[in-house]
Symmetry: D2
Subunit: 274 residues, 4 copies
């Protein structure tokens, strides 16, 4: 049977990425409280395609992801990528997987338990280093978390006789590290930087608490980004530390679904270790 | 050339709807301030398919919608539907079109102008009445508007020392009428029922105003639905009236993007004239 | 502490639905091959609100759903709804939960395994019957499945020298039953009605098979709906049967993402047992 | 009244972007056939925020965009950005606006007219150059177009007795240029690289034409990207040329909604002028 993908291509145009997108799969990820957590992921998987090949073999991406789905810790995610790179005979392999991540969180006064959902993701890249620079394999791994929070507007509070507009906001953090850290720790640190964290279950005494706590801690989107930025930069010296080794790179983004506008307020900062 | 769609079908199963969905088109709709407004719509167009036909002729839906796009007032929308019904040789024709609708709105204190966007829609159905009941053609026309608003939580305000959680909410109203009314009037009535309406441009003195106004007018999702319901039921006696003739049917839905939760609070009511 | 929600309301407007929407939770559902399957759901939970209450207690919905999440079979889903109704002191309770559902499926020739994802959902309603009609509790339970398939256009095949346009289509089925049935059986029956089912992993010999099989089984959206309709109507007499008792009600919808248009082709039919 | 945003910030963290997102507005853009076209846009507007300011003044972004909406050609878009930069007293300003763009396209045989919708966008950045490098202002302007097309799979065609799987695909092109070009020309060039372009209205003789044309021109996602890449690289020498000056940078992305899979096939390439 003809293998059209393997035939030579004469246009001499290398492709940076070829692969599959939107692959939905159940996956198991690390969970601080329970060891592992089963959730549902959406994956994109790619390799580079040298100029002389006409096409890639899409089925192999799925076969490999299928085999690794039962344990997608950071280490295994990179091993999966390395296997994609080898099996597809490429210099580079890329992957991302997005998944909802669930954490049990108790209400601040009543202690009522509920599960909170956070949209998280892994992104990775594995590539052969230039042989002139000693060769070998490089690995990049980035974790992203989106943390929904409350933000009370400092300006609205300062200028108004009573009340202050507040709203749901989303903080998206992406971090790159070579050491171990828990997603749960990043999330609870981000929540501590907001006017208040969110909860699934709040009884009336809890609602009183979160309303007052938020009003006493007003934050612009700009403030929120700066608070999270300052903490991530000093992640190893926080008490308790967020991770074993300093983050190599991170970005912080806050988007407030302004309750007085139809559009959102936005702030973004990025850090690269020197 | 074979006309497969026109061939007989032996399964004897009538289809309630066949047609096209997701047709994106620029359309012109009525605008109270400017006569007409050009916006962009997404249309679904259907007819019923009797049991003896194998398929419908999809291209005719698009041809007819194409011809009517330059004036999609209520009257023309129903005329378009009637032409769909006749050209497709069906007993019933259905259509819906969703579009963003823009209204200039000035800030409450500074008077600064800005455009607000509201997601609106038309739905229609045209059908032959049973000849035993005198025959003729029936027409149903429903307008929907989605109005983003601010809501301050009455419970949070009542139990907290200071502040009150508030958030962006969405009120969706669907109304059925045989007389004329302006979408703009429905929208501004809905905004008057909320803790406060939203604005595109707010200077600091406006922000003070909307913060205080909202705090003084707390509303649950339940309150919002009841306020809008009460007004729509008495639409002709409001001052100014919302429409010439009473609404035959309407529904009101409020969804608050709770600033203390990740999930939303929801309320819904429906009215049918006796 | 004031209980604002419990205060009387003087507007005398009953609300058909009040509750929470967009609650994301891990849930466990029945799985034919493995007993149970852990997936991630998005739930909406409502009760009716009589005219004399100002508001509902939103936290109770989440508390109850939290307790039931570990086993959301049909029976337990209705028990959960019944508890919602009682705890919220309402006449009616409604719920829907949507979730991706995963089934292992092997390629048709090579036998390579892969997981396929299907968007499924439960909807339920529990209500007190009118005491004049003997009282008691009524329960309605509806399952929905969305099955992605291939459809080859019969018209395109009939009129063209070679080839035929084909595309991904989505078939959405909703069924209401009082007896037991497997979601897996509905899904594989729907796939058998299409030009071909979809797969996660296809090697070249599989790709040859599915291409030829689809070309030999062209289907309009209209055909697909009629084939599924005919089968669901005779669900108990199919071999093997799809369910123990006939469906009380069902709807079938097919939407083809036409490869020659930007818009979709659509067909819909509905059945109610006499 | 206090101006909290203007107060000093002691955390010494500069923010790369602050501003507004999701601003929906009617806009007017250039149209080759009709001079201008009114459509609906969604805009994001940002500036950088130096470390010593606490916040930005969000209302100014909207005021400026409001003033420019009636003519968003490339030149005016950059002038708008330059005004944002100056009014917000920043070194950098960024903006993007996404909009559906409509082009009349006649069916290939019958000549029937219909409107096709393409998702397009502008992105821009204006910044002060380093005074050490001579100062002045730099401007970057990127146009993006998404072109839906048909792709027939070359492998499926080569190995199957008859037929070949095909599907809707999306080609996304982003180009950066300092000279003038028409979005319409990019779109029709991309369509010419696919197995076939899409149409809103196709009569039977047109359907025969597009089916056969597509079958005779099979394309992998990889092929499509390479064809478009080769053309954009030689944009000034095509006949007719796509633009006056060569593109400084571009990217090409193809995503096929595989009719035999639930996931998509993807290819991507990027070019920077030497």
């Amino acid at each position: 049977m003809r293998d059209v993908q393997n035939e030579p291509d004469l246009r001499r145009i290398p492709l940076r990425k070829v692969g599959v997108t939107g692959l939905r799969y159940p996956i198991d990820v690390l969970d601080k409280a329970n060891g592992m957590q089963t959730t549902t992921g959406t994956a994109d998987l790619f390799v580079n395609l040298p100029r002389h090949f006409k096409g890639t073999h899409m089925s192999r991406f799925v076969e490999i992801f299928h085999a690794y789905r039962k344990d997608l810790s950071m280490k295994r995610f990179l091993a999966m990528l390395e296997e994609v790179r080898r099996r597809l005979d490429a210099e580079r392999a890329f992957a991302s997987v997005k998944f909802p991540f669930f954490i049990e969180k108790t209400a601040p006064v009543s202690g009522q338990p509920g599960l909170m959902c956070y949209d998280c993701g892994y992104e990775g890249e594995v590539f052969l280093r230039d042989p002139e620079n000693g060769g070998g394999i490089s690995r990049v791994f980035t974790v992203s978390v989106e943390v929904p929070v409350t933000t009370v507007c400092p300006c609205s509070k300062a200028i108004s006789r009573h009340g202050a507009h507040n709203q749901r906001g989303r903080v998206r953090v992406r971090v790159r590290n070579t050491g171990f850290f828990w997603i749960e720790d990043i999330i609870s640190f981000v929540e501590s930087c907001a006017s208040c964290g969110l909860y699934s279950v709040l009884k009336r005494k809890d609602e009183k608490f979160v309303t007052e706590h938020a009003y006493e801690n007003p934050r612009f989107a700009e403030d929120l980004v700066r608070e999270v930025y300052a903490g991530l930069k000093n992640a190893v010296s926080l008490s308790p530390p967020l991770c074993e080794k300093p983050f190599l790179w991170f970005s912080v983004e806050a988007e407030n679904e302004e309750s007085i506008h139809r559009h959102n307020a936005y702030a973004y900062a990025e850090y690269t270790s020197p």
